[in-house]
């Protein structure tokens, strides 16, 4: 066990990831504190999703060390319940199983990972669906019948099915209207406080970053160039970070001074 395991949920040090000759993540280090919501920003195609997918083990790393909940990824996070209970992942498109209803989607990890009765599985699944705000009449719909916002909510319920300690969200509010996106932000915040989650969120949504994130990390040139609360990032001198937060679209976020 790592001495910092109680303090940090995820520790990444000197990580290098690339495809062929192209290096996407270049000696990157990042610590995610336990119980915080960390927002990750970066240019499109700049390696945000690659970083997330490397941490969760979908992409092999070339160098460096990743520790999740005190366990080194090189030693293997194991399979089955241990890994499923460690993290839940909300993929960008939801990645709901299209042949299962919303309720069955949430039940799926419960059925596969836990040895509990079907009745209890069903109750837990519907409890999760209610917690993410899916109305009972929509429980038995198939993913193709759900709207974009509902798909994300069901996917979040599935990610939370086993009460993991970390959730990874890949652009949770992309493709949602501002009201739905605001609701979703609020939902993430509420669930994070009630369930004591650590949230690792890849996003482009400036409002999300401002409202829900405890800290924001900026990824540029394969490295974390700035990390801290939103107010600190707004004052960062790094050219890319300045361009990101002080561009035309971000004007509205600037603290009003005068």
């Amino acid at each position: 066990m790592d001495a910092f395991a109680d303090l940090y949920s995820i520790r990444v040090s000197e990580l290098v990831v690339g495809f062929g000759h192209q290096i996407v993540i270049d000696h990157l280090s990042l610590d995610v504190r336990r119980g915080e919501i960390l927002g990750l920003v970066g240019a499109s195609g700049g390696g945000k999703s690659v970083l997330m997918r490397t941490i969760i083990g979908l992409i092999p790393k070339q160098e460096g060390r990743i520790t999740v909940m005190g366990r080194d990824s090189d030693l293997g996070l194991g399979r089955g319940t241990a890994v499923a209970a460690t993290w839940g992942i909300l993929f960008q498109q939801g990645a709901l199983f299209s042949s299962l209803t919303a309720r069955q989607n949430v039940q799926f990890p419960l059925r596969e990972m836990l040895d509990i009765s079907e009745k209890l599985q069903d109750e837990i699944a519907t409890a999760k669906l209610e917690m993410v705000g899916i109305a009972p009449d929509d429980w038995d719909k198939y993913p193709a019948q759900l709207s974009g916002g509902m798909t994300k909510r069901v996917a979040l319920a599935r990610a939370l099915a086993l009460d993991p300690s970390i959730v990874f969200l890949d652009e949770p509010t992309s493709g949602l209207d501002p009201i739905a996106a605001g609701d979703f932000d609020q939902l993430i915040k509420t669930l994070q406080t009630t369930l004591g989650l650590t949230v690792f969120m890849v996003t482009h949504d400036l409002a999300s970053l401002n409202v829900v994130c405890d800290r924001v990390a900026a990824l540029a040139d394969g490295k974390i160039v700035a990390i801290g609360p939103m107010t600190e990032l707004l004052q960062s001198e790094h050219p890319w970070v300045r361009a990101y937060f002080h561009g035309k679209r971000s004007e509205m976020l600037r603290p009003k001074q005068d």
């Binding site: 319940t81 241990a82 836990l114 209890l120 837990i124 917690m131 009972p136 009630t194 369930l195 004591g196």
Partner: protein, 378 residues
């Protein structure tokens, strides 16, 4: 480390006290459920329920829900139930869980099973007529697109056509040759084996020749093409439909039938007769080798007998059927592709339907051709 969950029961007069302790989390859920089964009778009998949470170290939704369920069951039976000693860390969770599972989905109206069955029969009949309509619709759209191309030959997409011919024709040759070769060899072997009893071994050449050229060659090749290329067409067009590529084409003022479907079907119509020819030759060659090794018939004798046995008619009958079968396979594959809805499951379903339907129609068509050729005396 994770401590095992415990549930101590204390009876204090009429009040049943539950003292959960340890880790009440998902990974312990099987043990938790057993604990609850153990105390269920006591909980059901108790007049009043008190849940003391002071000893709980960790709790998540599953643990909280099990406790909430016990308290809710008691409350429903008109008895009192309350939580005490809820730690600050998970008070929010307990509060959240108290709200959930209070609503059920509105039940679907019940239907009379006989009416439901009749409804199903009606729907299948209706969908069968729909199938014919869809087929004719695609046939018509194809005709219109073809007319357009004949009027402006430059609008034919040659690159696409060439590529499709390469895919469904050229690349299918090895497997077609292999399978028809084996079929030819098997027919010859069976023929020799049975004809030997009458001393009529040499007639095996007549059988192989006529059977392969008239029926088996084209049928086997058409079935293989339906399975190989028809399914690919359906899956391609289906995933294009799913990703709105086809809608994108229409909004640019282009006709998806002309751009996507016409080159595919023309490619099949060109490739299938060629494949049939190659397949038939391969089957005859398979027959020749079998006759030579199994029965000792010299290749020269085989070829000479073949020359006498089959007329150009047999060959023509086989090859004439090929383009029509190609048309049927292409139309079925493309129209099924366009019927794909949003889900991955529907893509799989339409692909299966496409293959099953086109093989069925190919065989029906072969039967119709047999009647037709018999009546015109070929």
């Amino acid at each position: 480390m994770i401590s095992a969950p415990v549930l101590t029961v204390v009876t204090d007069g009429d009040v049943l006290e539950l003292h959960p302790g340890g880790a009440w989390i998902a990974s312990q859920s099987a043990a938790l459920e057993r604990l609850f089964e153990g105390v269920a009778p006591q909980v059901a009998a108790a007049k009043s329920l008190k849940i003391d949470m002071t000893e709980v170290i960790e709790i998540d939704t599953i643990g909280a829900w099990l406790l909430e369920k016990a308290s809710r069951e008691a409350a429903q039976a008109g008895r009192t139930a309350h939580f005490v000693g809820v730690g600050e860390r998970y008070a929010g969770l307990i509060e959240e869980v108290r709200q959930v599972n209070r609503h059920r989905p509105t039940p679907k109206p019940k239907v009379n099973p006989i009416i439901a069955r009749l409804d199903q029969v009606g729907r299948s009949a209706w969908s069968a007529t729909q199938d014919i309509a869809v087929f004719l619709d695609m046939f018509g759209a194809l005709g219109v697109a073809l007319l357009g191309v004949l009027r402006r030959p430059r609008s034919l997409r040659l690159t696409s056509l060439t590529y499709q011919i390469y895919r469904v024709g050229w690349r299918a040759i090895p497997i077609v040759v292999l399978i028809t070769f084996l079929i030819g060899a098997i027919i010859a072997q069976q023929g020799i084996f049975h004809f030997r009893k009458f001393g009529a071994e040499s007639y095996v050449v007549d059988m192989v020749g006529i059977l392969v050229l008239r029926e088996i060659g084209v049928l086997i090749v058409a079935i293989m093409v339906a399975g190989r290329s028809g399914s690919a067409y359906t899956a391609e067009l289906g995933s294009m439909k799913m990703r709105e590529e086809i809608d994108a084409l229409s909004t640019m003022g282009l006709d998806p039938v002309e751009v996507l479907i016409l080159p595919r079907i023309i490619a099949l119509v060109i490739a299938l007769p060629i494949l049939t020819f190659i397949g038939s030759m391969s089957a005859l060659y398979g027959g020749l080798l079998t006759a030579w090794f199994y029965s000792g018939m010299q290749p020269a004798v085989y070829i000479a007998r073949l020359h006498e046995a089959v007329s150009l008619n047999s060959f023509e009958v086989g090859i004439w059927k090929a383009p029509f079968m190609a048309l049927v396979i292409g139309i079925v594959a493309c129209s099924e592709g366009l019927r794909v809805k949003g889900s991955a499951e529907s893509l799989g379903l339409q692909t299966t339907t496409s293959v099953v339907k086109s093989i069925f129609l190919v065989i029906v068509l072969d039967g119709l051709f047999a009647v037709f050729f018999a009546s015109i005396g070929l």
